[in-house]
Amino acid sequence: MTGAEFVILSLVPLVIGVLAAIACALPGNFLLLRRQALIGDAISHVVLPGIVVAFLLSGRVAAVPMMLGAGGAALVSVALIEAIRRLGRIEPGAAMGVVFTAMFAGGVLLLEQSAASGVHLDVQHALYGNLESLVWLDGHGWGALVDREALRGLPPELARMAVVTLAVALFTGLLWRALVISTFDEGFARTLGLPVRALSLALVAVAAMAAVAAFDAVGSIIVIAMFICPPAAARLMTDRMSGQVAWSLGFATLSAVLGYVLAGYGPLWLGYQSAVSAAGMIATVAGLILALAALFGPRRRGVAAV
């Protein structure tokens, strides 16, 4: 494959995949330690009805209304979970299970009933995205990276994902100390005067933002895998929080790159014509990394926090 072909077909999906993986893995580290790992799973299910409703109201597949719809749906789901938990005195895990399956079912039904399924949205797309379709038609070679005309033709998902990743990184960097302290010892954080509840809400909100942006670009399967697998593998490598985050970013990047390359070129090496799903392969590679870490990671046993 020539350089020009690589730039047109693979560069942008690769970069978007890496950005999405990093944006999800960063908050995933904290969610994992707070035992809220399944929030990513819940968010990526509940945004579907929001996105479909946004499409039905605005009538087009555009980023802003869909992000708004997804954000609205995430808020509705949080309110619903809280209401069910409080009103019915139901344990949080089960309340979450009730809400996210019901909202996802509602989203699927809306999708099938509306014209949306025929146009651009469909359930498969929502589940495993379409990373391969984000090609850069103007990318005529490596020189295009400095060519203003060609840069204008970049898929809009790239800029959006980059902005969100930057925002997530800024959030984590600026609130690092507060996040770490409130994650490990909430009581101590409270005595220091840290706004513990607000921090925890902000973390979930940032996770939701990352999930929605990544969902838009790469589908929900990567979102769930990247929220959990790289941080979980990193947790088995080290006891230090900064080390864990660094490992998780490395694992996330490795999964995205290796997964994309294996999906795109693996079948060619084996003599087949077309590629397999990149999103699925990225999730699979992340799982293999986790399996290796669970088998050989230096800190794999440790003491589980009570």
Binding site: R35, G93, T101, I222, A275, A283, G302
Partner: protein, 399 residues
């Protein structure tokens, strides 16, 4: 059309499918109760998603062996194998590494599903131009289901239900207090394995109807809804079965009325509707009952405080209190206290004094613990005890 479908009037096959879905719902609801009580409801989400690679691999193997590929029992066998593998991964990660069960669930769910998606695209690569139709397993479909398949699903559901009934006692014991159960000689590992095995079995049976993504809902929503109605396990299991069965019946029947109505989501939404009804109208834990309880409590507090104020000769200004006392004929419209009101106020004051005395006496410690500032003491003590208390109160004790 809808009434025809609900009355099972849409032909032999649709009727079979609807009854099969109902049987599936009953079994799933009853199984889910034990997972929910053991606080492991979300494990079934991992089981559900982990079936996907097995389904596709089963298809690939059957095609490689020269078969048709869409033979349902073969696909179900593949699903069971990969879901079992996923379940083993969850237990292994949670037991042998420092990761918690929720992280293990999320990891297995996403990785197995991702692998399944990769295999799905492999099928597309191999079968250029021909659709294998395996995508229907994502969200479930009953359209074009064969008669034998519907019967198989109903039979599978019935078998799981029978096992649940058989194993209910040890499963309840472990769900409520696993240490006590172990002390009673229950084999915890075996019971846990049985519980997860039943969840796995119902997932595999329901795959074709509800789909890998949503099958978890059948194991979670009916038990949670049933839990709102009762505190007794036997009642909860029966109710969860009923709610699950009704959801399966309604979802499959409605889905048969028109194209573009996927079965899985409809079954889930039907069970969510039943859950919402339960949340609103359940007798003890329902929202309506809680509201009613609050309303009654507020009125009792206001009336009591109003009476005590009257007895001490203070004026009552609170509008709600005044309204309540007027309605009961304790106060006239112009604010003057009626004889009935005066008598009741005196009784309230006496009750307050009795409580005060009671709480200072050590021999009434048990009764004093029931002081809530509202219940009259005559509801707590026997007439003899009351008389004894009144003697200690002296002249104040005479009404």
């Amino acid at each position: 059309m809808l009434w025809q479908a609900l009355g099972l009037g849409l032909g032999y096959n649709a009727t079979l499918v609807t009854l099969g879905a109902a049987m599936l719902g009953i079994a799933a609801g009853a199984t889910g109760v034990f997972l929910y009580l053991a606080r492991r409801a979300l494990v079934s989400d991992a089981i559900g998603h982990a079936t996907l690679p097995g389904v596709v691999a089963g298809y690939l193997v059957m095609v490689a062996l020269g078969g048709e590929g869409r033979f349902l029992p073969g696909l179900m066998l593949g699903a069971a194998v990969s879901a079992g593998l996923g379940l083993a991964c969850v237990s292994w990660l949670a037991a042998r590494t420092r990761l918690h069960e929720d992280a293990a669930i999320g990891a297995v769910l996403s990785v197995f599903f991702g692998a399944g998606v990769v295999l799905l695209t492999v099928v597309q690569v191999l079968e250029t131009g021909r659709q294998a139709g395996l995508e229907t397993f994502l969200l479930g479909a009953t359209a074009g289901m064969l008669r034998a398949e519907a019967l198989g699903i109903a039979a599978g559901g019935a078998a799981v239900l029978a096992l649940v009934v058989l194993l209910r006692r040890p499963m309840v014991a472990v769900a409520f207090d696993s240490e006590f159960a172990a002390g009673q000689g229950v084999n915890l590992r075996a019971v846990d394995l049985a519980m997860m095995g039943l969840a796995l079995a119902i997932t595999v049976v329901g795959l074709k109807v509800v789909g890998v993504v949503l099958i978890v809902a059948l194991l979670i929503i009916p038990p949670v809804a049933a839990r709102l109605w009762s505190e007794r396990v036997s009642v909860i299991v029966a109710l969860a079965g009923a709610i699950g069965g009704l959801s399966g019946y309604l979802g499959a029947a409605i889905s048969a009325t028109a194209p573009g109505l996927p079965t899985g989501p409809l079954i889930v939404l039907a069970s969510f509707a039943l859950f919402t009804l339960s949340l609103l109208f359940a007798p003890a834990r329902g929202v309506l009952a809680a509201g009613l309880r609050y309303w009654r409590f507020q009125r009792r507090v206001h009336l009591r405080q109003g009476l005590l104020a009257l007895a001490s000769g203070y004026p009552v200004h609170d509008p709600l209190t005044l309204r309540l006392m007027r309605r009961q004929g304790l106060v006239r419209a112009d604010g003057v206290v009626t004889p009935a009101g005066r008598a009741m106020a005196a009784r309230a004051r006496l009750d307050e004094r009795r409580w005060h005395m009671l709480r200072s006496l050590p021999e009434f410690e048990a009764a004093a613990a029931r002081h809530d500032g509202l219940s009259p003491l005559s509801e707590v003590l026997t007439p003899d005890q009351l008389a004894a208390l009144d003697r200690r109160l002296g002249p104040e004790g005479a009404l």
